[in-house]
Symmetry: C2
Amino acid sequence: MTASEPKTHSEGVYASLRAELLGGSFLPGSKLKLAGIGTRYGVSLSVVREAMTRLAGEGLVRALPQRGFCVTPLSVDDLLDLTRARVLIETSVLRESIGQGGLEWESAVIAAHHTLQGTTYTTDEGHLDAAWSAAHQAFHRALLTGAKSPRLESIATELRDCSLLYQHWSIDIAGDLDRDVAAEHRNIAELAVARDAEGAVRALTEHIERTTAALLAYAESQTDPRRAAGISA
Amino acid sequence: MTASEPKTHSEGVYASLRAELLGGSFLPGSKLKLAGIGTRYGVSLSVVREAMTRLAGEGLVRALPQRGFCVTPLSVDDLLDLTRARVLIETSVLRESIGQGGLEWESAVIAAHHTLQGTTYTTDEGHLDAAWSAAHQAFHRALLTGAKSPRLESIATELRDCSLLYQHWSIDIAGDLDRDVAAEHRNIAELAVARDAEGAVRALTEHIERTTAALLAYAESQTDPRRAAGISA
DNA sequence: AAGTTAAATAAAATCGATATTTTCTTGCTA
DNA sequence: TAGCAAGAAAATATCGATTTTATTTAACTT
């Protein structure tokens, strides 16, 4: 059994579409035509529509009244806001996590880090590797599980998923990542498990902001970022 | 013109349903039958379904695969988690807001507070007054606008909307509120405008937690909270 | 040639109906 | 009487078609 059959048709399309979006299969800002997707998945418009509505709620696509849906357009302003929100929330929750996490939490962090470390970074054709991406998200999620707050965890995860959309801006991001990212992760994991809250928070903040900086640098390196990478503003 | 006509049919039903939910018209955990709502609003199932899906994304209703939708069931555990998340996020954003807010922000806070203060608390039949509730939400929102972060603002608003569902648990909450709430609001507003970040944060924290405490006290006062107020766990 | 209007095309939003699944009811059995 | 099973009823999820709205194309005007 790979993944338990989705209870409803709509659920399946939602999950697939979500994976495609986070995998960077669509161009930011591009139009998502319901009919096309419907036939591609062999389902009716209704189920595509429902999936889209859910994705819009998560901020991965945008609903344009009377004009359907499009992949969420990216913008420098939003990237900055998103980064700020992530830093503020993830660091706050990490503090709680370090303060309240028990042995299971430590183990989970170490396990997630080990997995991440062992996942090869096959940067074929400049795209982020799906497996690595998943391990990366899992690691960051594990860091926050010590806080034992379902709501905060899901908010942080949602924001992280949104920022994943930005990771496909640049093919250079891959090269930039394996430069220091492994060390950064090790550092965060160690500080967290060592209960050095302030140190871990600092490391996490830098980790998040460094990726954003790389993205911004890439965006600026383009003469016209709008055309080059789907930026809308 | 009262409120610009909603572009789409679905949008209208969504807004109405949302207002009903936040107004406490439905019992927590109760089933929302699509057909009934559809005929009540004079629309097809599709549009109700879409509205529901959106509301589910916001956490106001819950989607039960193959079994439709129900009003989000309330629970003590979730109330505690929700309160924790709100305190953590709203205080963090308030700090930023106080640090970065300009004169317009101060004015907005003062204006929102004045409106709130002047809105009569007509607690007819023990229900929260819609106008007061709106003014209350607007005030709390205004406090955070100085941070100039759309994402953080909307997250905070969403959580606050969720906690509004809990306010209808008890008919006593109304009596409890006008006891000290006006003073609390004045206090928060003054400290915020005076740029006393830590003081304002402390006041806001107490304000949020006090309401939760009142709700919990009411919940415990019931021999069987489940039956009495729609609590599910 | 640029701009404007009008028809034609394409797409989205909505509907009404069907197929499935769940829930309720009723009668049976131990 | 409690528990179970089968059938009836209700409600959901999905479909296919219709209506409405946006977009494109083409013709026309200045």
